[in-house]
């Protein structure tokens, strides 16, 4: 491999590995599986000529891989991304915690799949509506509407929770 290219690849791996895994894991609910998908995404990146930034590209490739995987896997035909729900709440969820962050994260987990994904891309990775649209195959306007719905729901639920406690 060309030295500058290998350096580039290493940089991108270091920079995006964790973020991409976190995203894939949130879609799949399973780390091992996510690791496979992320490895494959980076192997595809290795075939590209260096460019920057790679994160949106990687996110899109990774998402497509995951979608393809579900399409190919006959046993999981129905389990397309949109219908997948987050894994069952852990005993942790049943415990009362005062921590606002944890409460909010739990609410995020309960959002519809697409909204959840958009919230992550927006606030975890700091992407724009347009970039999110390119990754998820939605129009930027649609992303805006979904994000607005998600945020309205979160605000409403957070405030009712606050009143109750």
């Amino acid at each position: 491999m060309h030295p500058t290219k290998s350096a580039w690849l290493r940089d991108q791996l270091n920079l995006c590995e964790g973020k991409l895994l976190r995203y894939a894991q949130s879609l799949l609910g399973d780390l091992t599986h996510a690791q496979d998908m992320v490895q494959e995404s980076f192997l595809r990146l290795a075939q590209q000529e260096p460019f920057d930034p790679t994160l949106p590209w990687l996110l899109r490739v990774c998402r497509n891989l995951i979608t393809d995987h579900f399409r190919k896997d006959k046993h999981m035909v129905d389990a397309t991304l949109d219908q997948r729900i987050h894994p069952a709440p852990s005993p942790l969820d049943q415990l009362e915690t005062q921590d606002i962050t944890q409460r909010l994260m739990r609410l995020v987990h309960r959002l519809p799949a697409t909204q959840r994904e958009i919230v992550r891309l927006k606030f975890q990775e700091g992407l724009s509506y347009k970039e999110i649209g390119e990754i998820t195959g939605l129009t930027a306007n649609h992303v805006g509407v979904l994000l607005h719905q998600a945020m309205t729901a979160l605000r409403k639920k957070m405030s009712t929770l606050e009143v109750r406690t």
Binding site: S6, L31, H148, L154
Partner: protein, 763 residues
């Protein structure tokens, strides 16, 4: 009425100029919209903060290696040499007119990776060009290769790395938005640094010895060169410094090499049979430690700083109060260091834990009493004029068949850092041993925690032993640690299977690297101490090395009314899980505090040896709400005081007489023969009120030779610990060994003798 979606877009800086205009107009008409926008922005930043706190998982070392197309180390070496040769060749061919063409990413099919293509098209295996690179001592590796390798592989990159290119805020008229971007940039940069640290550390953080965390923060040698020369204007050709810097550079390079070696061969090591595996790993560790020491880098194990107890004057401080401590982790950890050929860091040596690691033949308690207490007074090994009061407690023995039934929840750390022969496999064998010695009416559950935590086994009666053992054997490591979620899940399970009048206990097995996810240790401690009040206790088993977090684990066990052991070997696992199982599981008295009142007529000054982090305020002794240590079935606890008798008083550093108070008059008891009075408070495991035990002690003027072998041994252990941690109290080693010789044939004590020899050799 304005479209709410537009408001969100505006608040997040996603609105187009036309939309911004519209929103501004709407705000003018309805100022309450401002608050709405602010609320959206608050939610946005809350979401940002929460989501960015989520742990960043890692790929496995193998996956990373595959992506980066890494080959075994010598091939990488060879490949670089080849690349260099090719570069030179191409450069010669192309001449000066243009830059070299990019080299094709994949070599022609018939050329083996790592082979060299000569200008005439001949393919030569690389070994012929550079010899067996593995065998080339580093000093002889051509400078160019070294440099080249470094450009590709070392942390120079990390240290010199510029922040990644930042996308420009698209709408600079949106202050909130652009601000957010700036924030993101910083976060991203830091994260990237972290990831790089992880990258270069992973092999070793996961592997026996952590190098990672301090690595990138080291200034690169090149940089320090530059600085030196810039500062000194006219260059001082300090040859020695340069040589030293070069040597350091080589060391860093070697370290990087060792880590890569570990990365690529990790799997091979794991497949080795256990003694060889241990040898191989120890070799790498020793090499790494040596290099690190030479570089003056500290490792990332975390130990609290211990400030030794000072001498106190009983006229001003008549009371000395502390909580007992039956932990033994410090001893096995110290043993690990010495067996590795290293002196332990002073902060890792807790004298009381060294002493309490061994069993002493203290009198068995009277029926109805949870423990016996005895005191022996003798001369100090390091100063014959000083006296030592050795306080010994012994908990009553419980027959394993008649102990109450257990409800145990194993909480196992399966984060990436546990993937290591002396961690997870040892955890598995330790827990299996424990299960094999439980009774059919006990129950066991298994919870793991890493990036996400989960219950692997619901509470299962030990009569179904096979199911439990199978679940333990299936544990595998991966993901980053989030200790709090796992602990909470484990407590919920323990609660669900709560055995009234039984033993309810969480057994946490971890290397203690709680560095991801827990921003708040104190809320975790709070949870643990609350659950302990509810009857679920916590035992902590520490494993592994390198990023071992000693102080966190000790604190957790302490809060959880539990016991803290460090398991460094199968032998130690046998000790804790088999021979002392009932003691490990069954608490017979909790919140055990000791308060000693010294008689100023007999004692000029005194000091407590060890228990530095267990000291309590005198008023806490009678305060039942104050947590203290627990004693398990059959456990022995020993505490030592050094006493300067009145007739020996040198009174160095004593306090001036008080100006506004008369000195307290001695009572009649002060003129008795009594040296001190020991008071012990304890609670029955299910009780909230304490009971008091109190007895006076006088000095029988025994010499050390005349005391029991146990006291001699305990004192020798104390001397050993004090010598090693560089205490003010130093005892010549031959003396320490003399008191050891007297002791028995107990294998643990014999092992201790060899440890002393190792320590002497290392000092």
């Amino acid at each position: 009425m304005i479209d709410q979606t537009l408001l969100t877009a505006y608040a997040l800086g996603e609105a187009t100029p036309a939309q911004i205009k519209a929103v501004k107009k709407a705000i003018k008409q309805d100022p309450s919209l401002k608050a709405e926008i602010q609320a959206i922005q608050e939610m946005a930043s809350l979401l940002g903060e929460s989501l960015q706190h989520e742990p960043l998982p890692k790929l496995t070392a193998k996956q990373r290696a595959r992506i980066l197309g890494q080959r075994p180390l010598w091939l990488t070496y060879a490949g670089l040499a080849a690349a260099l040769l090719i570069c030179i060749i191409v450069w010669q061919y192309v001449g000066t007119q243009s830059l070299p063409e990019p080299i094709p990413t994949t070599p022609p099919a018939e050329v083996q990776s790592g082979d060299v293509v000569l200008p005439n098209g001949q393919v030569v295996p690389l070994e012929q060009v550079v010899g067996q690179p593995e065998l080339v001592p580093l000093d002889e590796v051509p400078e160019e290769i070294l440099r080249d390798h470094q450009v590709d592989n070392t942390l120079h990159q990390a240290a010199n790395k510029k922040p990644p290119a930042v996308p420009k805020p698209r709408l600079s008229s949106q202050p909130h938005h652009s601000h957010k971007y700036e924030q993101n940039t910083i976060i991203e940069y830091n994260e990237s640094m972290e990831v790089i640290q992880k990258d270069y550390g992973i092999g070793i953080t996961d592997a026996p010895c952590a190098i990672a965390k301090s690595y990138p923060s080291e200034p690169s040698v090149d940089e320090s060169y530059l600085n030196e020369e810039n500062r000194d204007g006219d260059v001082d050709p300090n040859v020695l410094d340069r040589k030293e810097a070069k040597a350091d550079e080589r060391r860093k390079f070697q370290l990087g090499k060792l880590k890569e070696e570990w990365l690529t061969q990790q799997q091979a090591y794991l497949n080795l049979p256990s003694p060889e595996r241990k040898m191989a790993i120890q070799q790498i560790e020793t090499k790494i430690n040596q290099l690190r020491d030479e570089l003056g880098w500290s490792n990332t194990e975390s130990y609290a700083v211990i400030a030794e107890n000072p001498f106190l004057d009983p006229q001003h401080d008549p009371l000395s109060t502390f909580s007992i401590d039956v932990d033994t982790a410090s001893y096995s950890n110290l043993r690990r260091f010495l067996n590795q050929g290293q002196l332990p860091p002073p902060g890792a040596i807790r004298i009381e834990e060294l002493i309490n690691y061994f069993d002493y033949a203290y009198p068995t308690p009277d029926p109805g009493q949870p423990f016996s207490a005895s005191v022996e007074v003798t001369s100090a090994p390091w100063n014959e004029a000083h006296r030592i009061a050795r306080i010994g407690l012994k908990g009553y023995e419980v027959d394993p068949a008649s102990r109450p039934a257990c409800n145990l929840v194993f909480l196992v750390d399966v984060s990436g850092s546990m993937e290591n022969p002396n961690k997870l496999p040892l955890v598995q064998s330790s827990l299996t041993k424990l299960v094999n010695h439980l009774r059919g009416d006990d129950s066991v559950a298994l919870v793991v925690y890493a990036g996400s935590s989960g219950t692997l086994l619901d509470p299962t009666p030990v009569s179904q032993k096979a199911t439990i053992v199978q679940a333990i054997q299936q544990l595998s490591a991966g993901g980053s640690t989030q200790g709090s979620a796992g602990i909470e899940a484990a407590y919920a399970l323990a609660q669900s299977a709560f055995k009234k009048d039984g033993i309810n206990r969480i057994i946490l097995a971890t290397d203690g690297d709680f560095n991801v996810g827990i921003s708040d240790n104190s809320s975790l401690e709070k949870l643990i101490s609350e659950k302990a009040k509810g009857g679920v206790f916590l035992t902590v088993l520490g494993f592994g090395m390198g990023n071992y977090q000693d102080s966190t684990l000790e604190l957790l066990a302490d809060k959880g009314n539990g016991f803290y052991a460090y398991i460094d070997s199968e032998v130690e696992a046998d000790k804790v899980m088999v021979h002392q199982l009932t003691g490990t599981l069954m608490t017979i008295a909790k919140d055990v505090k000791i308060q000693v009142e010294f008689n100023p007529q007999a004692v000029s000054s005194y000091r407590l040896i060890g228990y530095e982090n267990r000291k309590m305020a005198a008023r806490d002794f009678n305060d039942d709400s104050k947590d203290a240590g627990e004693i398990g079935a059959g456990h022995t606890v020993t505490a030592l005081y050094e006493i300067v008798p009145v007739d020996q008083a040198s009174k160095a550093g004593s306090i001036d007489p008080l100006k506004y108070q008369a000195q307290a008059e001695p009572t009649a008891d002060a003129f008795s023969n009594e040296l001190l009075t020991v008071k012990i408070r304890y609670k029955k495991p299910d009780s909230d009120t304490s009971q008091l035990l109190s007895f006076p002690v006088s000095d029988s003027y025994q010499k050390l030779e005349e005391t029991s072998a146990d006291t001699q041994f305990a004192l020798a252990v104390a001397c050993f610990g004090l010598n090693l941690r560089g205490s003010a109290i130093q005892t010549p080693w031959p003396k320490v060994q003399k008191w050891l010789k007297a002791s028995s044939t107990d294998p643990l004590r014999l092992e201790f003798q060899t440890l002393v020899e190792k320590a002497i050799a290392l000092q």
